[in-house]
Amino acid sequence: MIALLARDLSLAFRAGGGFGLGLAFFLLVVVLVPLGVGPDSAILAAIAPGVLWVGALLASLLSLDRIFALDHEDGSLDLLATAPLPLEGVVAIKALAHWLVTGLALTLAAPLLAVLLNLPAPGYPWLLLSLAVGTPALSVIGAFGASLTIGLRRGGLLLSLLVLPLYVPTLVFGAEVVRRGATGLAPATPLALLAAITAGSLALLPFAAAAAIRVNLR
C-alpha cells in the first residue's frame, strides 16, 4: 500500500503530473472573481467563503480523470486488480494520493488566497479546518466518479457531470462553516455534518468504486 502511495505521489509530482495545475487553477479562479464582480471589498468579504470553496472544488475536479485513466491505459490497473491488495484498498490509496496532491495543497494555499478576497479575520481558522475536513470527501467522491468513466474515450466531461451533483452537500456544508465562522456565528453543526459526509464517503465509496472498476475491467 505504501509502495503504491509513493508511486502515485512521485508520478504526480513529475512533469505533467498535474500537481501545480490545480493550485494554479485555484489561484486563477480567486483572481478572476474580483475582476468579474468588481473590487468592492465589502462584497468580496461576503462572497469569499463561497468563492474559496467553489475554487477548491473545481481545482480538485481538474485532476480527477488522472486517478485511474493513465493506469487503465498502460495496463497497470489490471495488475493492481489481480494483486493481493484488495481493490477497495487500491481505491482508497489512490484517493489519498489525490488528496495529498490537490486537497492538502489547496487547504494550505487557501488562507493566502483568502487575503485577496478580504475574508474577515475570524474566518481563517474555520477556512483551514473546513477545507482540511472536507477535501478528503471531494477526493473519494471523485475517485468513485473516475472509476465509473474509466473505459470511456472522452470521460472528462461526463466525469464532471457525474461528480458535481455529488459534491453539493460537501460544498454547502463547507462554505457554511466558513461563512458562519467569518460572521461570528457558531459553525459547529455544519462542521460536524461535513465531517460526517467525509467519514461516510471514506467508509462506503471505495466499495462502490471498486465494484465499478471490476465491471469496467470485465
Partner: protein
C-alpha cells in the same frame, strides 16, 4: 412483452381519461383562490409532476437494485426507460413552478431548499442518462448506471437536507396529507388533484412500458444482427 402488449391500450386509455377529466375539471370547474386568483390552477400540473419526478427516481433505484442483485435484464432496461420520463417531469415541475412563482412570489427563481433540490435532481437525471448513452457494452452500462443510481440516491437525499441549512425558504410544505389538520387543501381542489395524480402515475407507467418495449426490441435487433453476421 405479451402481458404488456395486452395491458398497454388500457393504461393508455385510463391515463388519457383521468388526465383529461382531472385537468379539465381542475382548469375550468374549480373556483379561483381568493388570494392567488386563477394561478392556483397550476397546482394540477405542478404537484403531480413534482411527485412523479421523485417517484421515477425511486422506481429507478428499485429496478437498479433488482438488476444488481438478481441480474434481471428487463429491470435494467426499465430503469433506463424511466430516466428521460423523470427528467421531463422534473423539468415540468421546475418550469410550472417558475411560472407560478413569478406572480405569487414576484420572482422566477429563488434559491429555496425545495427548488434547489429539484435542480440538483435534474442534474442527477442528466448524469444518469449521459452515462447510459456513453457506454457501448449494454451489460457494463447497466452495472455502472446501477451503481451510480444507488450512490446518487444517497447524495440526492443529503443535498436535500444540506440546502435546508440556508433557510426555510419560500416554498410551502406539502398540504396533500394535511386533511383534518389546520390549513388543509380545499375539497374543491382535492378531488381533481387526486384524479390528476392518478393520471400522471398511469401516464408514467405508460411511457415506461412503451420505452422498455422499445429498448427490448432494440436489443433483440442487435442480437439478431450479430447472429446474422456470424451465420
Amino acid at each position: 412483452m405479451r402481458l404488456s402488449r395486452r395491458v398497454l391500450p388500457w393504461i393508455a386509455a385510463l391515463a388519457g381519461l383521468s388526465l383529461g377529466i382531472g385537468l379539465i375539471w381542475g382548469f375550468f370547474f374549480t373556483p379561483d383562490d381568493y388570494k392567488q386568483g386563477s394561478t392556483v390552477k397550476i397546482l394540477f400540473i405542478h404537484v403531480p409532476a413534482a411527485m412523479m419526478a421523485i417517484n421515477a427516481w425511486i422506481m429507478m433505484l428499485v429496478t437498479s437494485l433488482i438488476w444488481v442483485i438478481r441480474r434481471h435484464h428487463v429491470s435494467a432496461l426499465a430503469a433506463r426507460a424511466a430516466a428521460p420520463a423523470g427528467l421531463v417531469f422534473t423539468l415540468i415541475a421546475l418550469v410550472t413552478g417558475a411560472l407560478w412563482g413569478q406572480p405569487m412570489w414576484n420572482t422566477w427563481w429563488e434559491w429555496d431548499p425545495r427548488l434547489t433540490s429539484f435542480l440538483i435532481l435534474l442534474l442527477f437525471y442528466l448524469g444518469y442518462i449521459a452515462l447510459w448513452s456513453a457506454i457501448e457494452d449494454p451489460e457494463t452500462a447497466a452495472d455502472l448506471t446501477g451503481i451510480l443510481c444507488v450512490v446518487g440516491s444517497v447524495f440526492a437525499v443529503m443535498s436535500r437536507y444540506a440546502v435546508k441549512f440556508w433557510n426555510q425558504g419560500l416554498h410551502q410544505d406539502s398540504t396533500i396529507l394535511k386533511v383534518g389538520e389546520k390549513d388543509p387543501l380545499d375539497v374543491a381542489y382535492y378531488v381533481p388533484l387526486v384524479i390528476c395524480l392518478v393520471g400522471f402515475v398511469l401516464f408514467f407507467i405508460l411511457i415506461v412500458l412503451l420505452r422498455t418495449r422499445m429498448l427490448i426490441r432494440a436489443r433483440r435487433l442487435i442480437a439478431l444482427e450479430a447472429r446474422e453476421r456470424l451465420g
